[in-house]
């Protein structure tokens, strides 16, 4: 779905006069380049050896069992899921409201707010994470409460990640909307809130669902922003993987990463059943 679209874009770069076998060949090259990392990851995760080399000495599931034996991965997965769900549930409604204001209101300085909302996309994650950390520390002193190393602090940071995607996707779906359907609803007796609930929201549904998917993925796989915000014993999965990597190198990480890919893959397939992703992204 998303993959196909991206490949479609890439194929636009093709020289115009590719004929015969050249086109299928090119497409398979692109596919290989895109899918190779994922496939190699999955394959390595079942190599029966400590140091990865080729050809493998045998096949095994023991890295998956090993990952299971390290509780930081299981709790990391749970925390990542928790943070991703919460930041999606908070960030997408906020981003949607912002998108509505950007498209519909007569707000002054709209383009300023537009760029501001895209900010989290531009600022490197480590920088944003560090900035948040410093701010949290200051607020902690001011308010006399824990913010750093709490779930709340982490969710707040990840909510920022959800904003630019949500704003972009929802703005796009709002701009393509025929407003006369809303006027028809008003004409038929619907008050403003009813119009929003019964007509506007269902009509921008695909944009919102896509935004939720993106917000979730952004949060779920985020490493850089989270680094400074997680607390001891409550690392997210990517942070847990990084710490593991500091001491050992073995295919356990490949096994964990494969699980991560599967979670996102399942999510995309499920989402695609509700909204055709190829139509919106």
């Amino acid at each position: 779905m998303i993959l196909l679209k991206a490949i479609g874009r890439l194929t636009l770069l093709l020289p115009a006069k590719l004929s015969g076998l050249a086109m299928p060949l090119w497409i398979s090259v692109v596919y290989t380049l895109m899918l190779a990392p994922v496939v190699i990851l999955a394959v390595i995760s079942v190599f029966d050896q400590q140091i990865v080399s080729f050809p493998p000495e045998g096949w095994t599931w023991r890295w998956y069992l090993n990952a299971w034996d390290h509780p930081e991965f299981a709790t990391g997965l749970l925390i990542s899921l928790q943070v991703a769900v919460l930041s999606t549930l908070i960030g997408v409604p906020l981003g949607t409201a912002a998108a509505l204001a950007l498209v519909r209101s007569k707000l002054l300085g709209k383009s300023f707010f537009n760029y501001l909302l895209l900010g989290p996309l531009v600022v490197p994650g480590v920088v944003a994470g560090a900035a948040l950390y410093l701010a949290y520390v200051r607020w902690e002193n001011l308010l006399d409460m824990d913010i750093t190393a709490t779930l709340g602090g982490l969710v707040a940071g990840h909510t920022l990640l959800a904003m630019p995607w949500t704003v972009r996707l929802v703005v796009a779906s709002l701009e393509g909307m025929d407003r006369s359907a809303e006027e028809a609803a008003v004409n038929l007796g619907a008050r403003p809130w009813t119009v929003f609930r019964r007509v506007t929201l269902p009509m921008m549904r695909s944009g919102v669902i896509a935004a939720m998917l993106f917000a979730f993925i952004q949060s779920f796989e985020n490493l850089d922003l989270s680094l400074l915000l997680v607390g001891p014993g409550s690392s997210t999965l990517p942070v847990a993987m990084l710490s593991y990597l500091e001491f050992r190198i073995d295919p356990t990480l490949a096994a964990v990463a494969t699980v991560q890919v599967v979670v996102i893959g399942v999510l995309m397939v499920v989402t695609d059943r509700f909204v055709k992703l190829s139509r919106i992204v």
Binding site: E183, A185, V186, L188, G189, A190, T194, R198, V199, R205
Partner: protein, 359 residues
């Protein structure tokens, strides 16, 4: 249904007045069409009646209520949009039932009335379809049913036929007109298509640059236009700017001299000579002399356009171009032998000519 009345309605955007004092009345059960070129203010006027646009001045009355400042959802108007504006996520029955739901009509009565409305537009069998599964004509009928089912006090149509293909348009406008008359719907319609307006409306309102130029029945507007704009906008018309020269003669600006017949009252100042092309008869200069009751000029044919049942003759008279339209002559007719460049007589009766004020 009720009477719809606009008084002194003005809409200004900044310093730019798009509607400049519109007065008009749609009687109970009457269909009035707002007609004019794009940007003439007709759509804004309709939106003011629907309540989507707040007028800068003036009042809108519907029945015995002043609705000028009533929000659009409380106005009891039924609008059909140019794009139909169906709710894409609701099926046909849900679309049609939406207005009833908003009015708190209970489920059983709602189903009953939706069914009635759909059978009125012959779509009962498609109640469960989604809008995107319907053809343009069917979508248009759903929009119609959706506006009708709430029994609005006034029915508002915004270019309702412009998205249909030509053949369907003729069919649908006859159906809509029949429905409107049968149900006695007070209807205000916006269109830029004069044929649509002429065939559907009881009365027409010709607008230009935010002002009403003329209100009248199709016949009144066609046969007695008040000015050159209306004459040119409704149907085709030979329009020549110029002035009177002596009695019974009109001198066009290009210098052509046209006989207009006996004494008639004309406004002083610049005038426009207006003559409908179907009132102009073409006679070969070499053939039978024109009838004595007719005025005639001699002109040179510049083009002959064959349109099947009709033929158009374009002629030049000392720099003024005139158009005549007549039934296509039979194979034995002497007119058949005419070709561009030929000298012909153009003939007309006195009463075909209108001398309109302005240019």
């Amino acid at each position: 249904m009720a009477r719809l009345q606009l008084q002194g309605v003005v809409k200004r955007y900044g310093g730019n007045a798009v509607v400049q004092g519109v007065d008009l009345t749609v009687e109970d059960g009457e269909l009035v069409a707002l007609l004019g070129p794009s940007g003439c203010g007709k759509t804004t006027t309709l939106r003011i009646v629907a309540g989507f646009t707040e007028p800068s001045a003036g009042t809108v009355r519907l029945g015995d209520r002043d609705i000028t400042h009533i929000p659009p959802y409380a106005r009891d108007t039924g609008m059909v949009f140019q794009s139909y504006a169906l709710f894409p996520h609701l099926n046909v029955a849900q679309n049609v039932g939406f207005g009833l739901e908003m009015r708190g009509v209970n489920r059983a009565e709602r189903d009953q009335r939706v069914k009635q409305a759909l059978s009125l537009v012959q779509l009962g069998h498609l109640a469960q379809r989604l809008p995107r599964e319907l053809s343009g004509g069917q979508q248009q009928r759903v929009a119609l049913a959706r506006a009708l089912v709430i029994k609005p006090l006034a029915f508002l149509l915004d270019e309702p036929l412009s998205n249909l293909d030509a053949k369907l348009r003729i069919e649908v406008r006859l159906q809509m007109r029949a429905l409107q008359q049968r149900l006695g719907l007070t209807t205000l319609m916006v269109t830029h298509d004069q044929e649509e307006a002429l065939t559907m409306a009881d009365r027409l309102v010709v607008m230009d640059q935010g002002r009403v130029r003329q209100i009248g029945t199709p016949q009144e507007l066609y046969e007695h236009p008040v000015d050159a704009f209306v004459a040119g906008f409704i149907g085709r018309c030979n329009l020549l700017a110029g002035k009177m020269e002596g009695t019974g003669q009109f001198r066009s600006r290009s210098g052509a001299l046209l006989p207009v017949g006996g004494t008639r009252f004309v406004a002083p100042g610049p005038l426009t000579f207006a003559l409908r092309p179907e009132r102009v008869r073409v006679a070969p200069a070499s053939g039978t002399y024109p009838g004595s009751s007719e005025r005639h000029v001699s002109a040179r044919l510049t083009a002959i356009t064959y349109l099947g049942s009709l033929t158009e003759y374009h002629a030049d008279l000392d720099g003024a171009s005139l158009l005549a339209i007549g039934p296509t002559p039979g194979t034995q007719d002497i007119l058949r032998r005419l070709s561009p460049g030929d000298e012909v007589f153009l003939c007309w009766d006195d009463d075909a000519i209108r001398l309109l004020p302005g240019e």
